[in-house]
């Protein structure tokens, strides 16, 4: 057996590779957005695609998010599979009308006659020192809209697999890319054939017995770090990476919480009205008799995303997660 030295790829490269492979496999796949052509996108995810596939399939659009998504709707109506890039989380908001009124509803309005197989890629979340409007965690808005799938990878391999799945899906998918993981690497080999998971399956990233950390996207590595740190305190934490917010994998999550009896939901978007409330409620409904403590949430504060020099105070970090884990000793406390 020979071992091939694999140059580790970044998440951004894996996403680009997924786009490339999807375009090569299916001529209906089109990439469009601001600066996705010659520049390769501001995060270089679409690097090289315009050269390989031409401007008709990798299109630098005018600067107008509603127009980008609205024209993509029409293209999907005609049988194409547009993959739209929104440059940053907060700049997707002008396109919300199109997303909510049309993308999410067209299949339903037309009783299945007009599905819209399109993918909206949104770089999201903070932690990269971005200025205002470049760090929003907007997942709760998307989750609250029936008709959309909402997925977010946390590893390089998932970035590839989930994006391939999203593009192949006959349902519209909001594909949330954790910006701060764009440059993260693991030993994913871009040239190896690989299977892709269907959208909607969570994965246990780390097994443990004393409590479950339920998380996704940019908070996954933070939770893994917290789990390592918790070992010193005698806690053996399980970490569940949701990968998909809609559909939600109740099975994997509930099975884990039933095993551990305790759970903390961790995400960086605001807690109030945020995904954690929904997740905690679902876990409570399904696992009430197995719970030794209330499901706790560790989330970003309920504030507009702070200026970069303060963002570390806003983002849930290892310490805040460990504090919550300590609070899970409910009986001892009360």
């Amino acid at each position: 057996m020979t071992t091939v030295a694999v140059k580790p790829a970044t998440m951004a490269q894996a996403l680009g590779r997924a786009l490339r492979d999807a375009m090569a496999d299916d001529p209906a796949v089109h990439v469009m957005g601001e600066d996705v052509g010659a520049l390769g996108g501001v995060f270089r995810v679409t690097d090289g695609l315009a050269k390989e596939f031409g401007e008709d399939r990798v299109t630098d659009t005018p600067l107008a998010e509603a127009g980008i998504l609205g024209t993509a709707v029409g293209m999907a109506m005609y049988g194409l599979r547009p993959v739209v890039e929104m440059q940053f989380d907060a700049f997707a908001y002008p396109a919300f009308e199109q997303l909510i009124s049309h993308v999410a509803k067209m299949r339903n309005r037309t009783r299945g006659a007009m599905p819209l197989p399109l993918t909206v890629r949104v770089p999201y979340g903070g932690g990269i020192g971005g200025v205002e409007h470049h760090s929003d965690s907007s997942e709760a808005y998307y989750m609250a809209t029936p008709g959309l799938h909402v997925v977010t990878p946390a590893t390089v391999a998932d970035a590839y697999g989930l994006l391939r799945e999203a593009i192949a899906s006959d349902d519209p998918v909001v594909f949330l890319e954790p910006k701060r993981l764009y440059w993260s690497k693991d030993s994913w080999n871009p040239d190896e054939p690989r299977s892709v998971e269907p959208i909607g399956r969570a994965v246990v990233r780390r097994q443990g017995r004393s409590a479950t950390l339920i998380t996704y996207g940019p908070s996954v590595p933070v939770c893994l770090e917290a789990a390592d740190a918790a070992r010193a305190e005698g806690w053996d934490l399980e970490v569940v990476d949701l990968r998909s917010l809609v559909p939600f994998d109740d099975e994997t999550v509930s099975a884990s919480v039933r095993r551990t009896g305790r759970a903390v939901v961790v995400h960086e978007s605001s807690g109030y009205g945020g995904p954690g409330g929904e997740i905690a409620a679902r876990v409570t409904e399904r696992c009430f008799h197995h719970l030794e403590a209330p499901v706790l949430r560790v989330a970003g504060f309920d504030i507009p995303y702070p200026p970069p020099m303060l963002e570390r105070h806003h983002l849930p970090g290892v310490d805040r997660i460990l504090d919550a884990v300590a609070r899970l000793q409910w009986e001892a406390q009360s």
């Binding site: 127009g67 609205g70 024209t71 309005r109 037309t110 899906s169 939600f248």
Partner: protein
Amino acid sequence: MTVMEQRGAYRPTPPPAWQPRTDPAPLLPDALPHRVLGTRAAERVDPELLRRLYAELVRGRRYNAQATALTKQGRLAVYPSSTGQEACEVAAALVLEERDWLFPSYRDTLAAVARGLDPVEALTLLRGDRHTGYDPYEHRIAPLCTPLATQLPHAVGLAHAARLKGDDVVALALVGDGGTSEGDFHEALNFAAVWQAPVVFLVQNNGFAISVPLAKQTAAPSLAHKAVGYGMPGRLVDGNDAAAVHEVLGEAIAHARAGLGPTLVEAVTYRMEAHTNADDDKRYRDDAEVEAWRAHDPIALLERELTERGLLDEDGIRAVREDADVMAADLRERMNQDPVLDPMDLFAHVYARPTTHLLEQEAQLRAELDAEARHHEYDENDEHDPEGNTR
């Protein structure tokens, strides 16, 4: 000195190669709304087309009257009548080839019917049983669109996609004067012009957006002028002159089909009835204004042209009206039947692959319906209820 004066006039300094694309004047060929009926130009129009337009106008008006009557009987939740605007609706439908696409707004039921859609299917949105009562691919009619102007970028995208595929397809999108103020209108026009997409925008300027008159909607000299800023032709047409609307749209569509890009057409017309049956138009306009427009009625204009030229006589008029009455009677009868709806349809078309929580909710509703059915049975039989409770 004002701030602007301090800064100096805004003068971008383009690189030497930069040239303005076009002299704006040729983009705006119509000094006044283009007319055909009652002018020499009418003689060049195929009489068969004139008769066809006439028959559809009469049917359209009858349809509007019947649908409005159905709101009074509670058979339709709401109906936005296009009475007065039938020439735009009908021309928009008849000017398209079968392979072309129509993108209507909520007021454009008539255009959809004139394109061949079943009159009942066209009303389901307004009856309230289905958002879209038809398969959009069957007649190439996008769903009637309720949010203003949002269908316009769809039309651009579809036309663009068709061209990329090498198909000879044009999209025609309809929008009201109020809709031209929405951001989606501007983004759609800009995309269309930059992509040279084979799309035509028809603005039905009927004077009002619910109660707001055009003067409060825009400061532009005309809505057709808006085309110039995007670099596409802006045409102005008499929206009550069915032959003129057909001609101008026909030219715009030929232009688009030839790969020469989009056109914005402003049809100047008037909404003769209230915004919908729920609106009170006396609050924002005078009867005198409405009356003045009666003299310029689209059906009367075409009827005069046809009769004066001997292309239509009393018998012909009667035949057209009788045909319209038959359509209306059929519509009335079919709309008077209660639609049969399956509550499980609520879940049927949300996703290709339904989520688990949707499957759970589907099961919940199924159980509720079964329980309801058991209780119905019990009420009818007046016996013990199946759960063993005594009444």
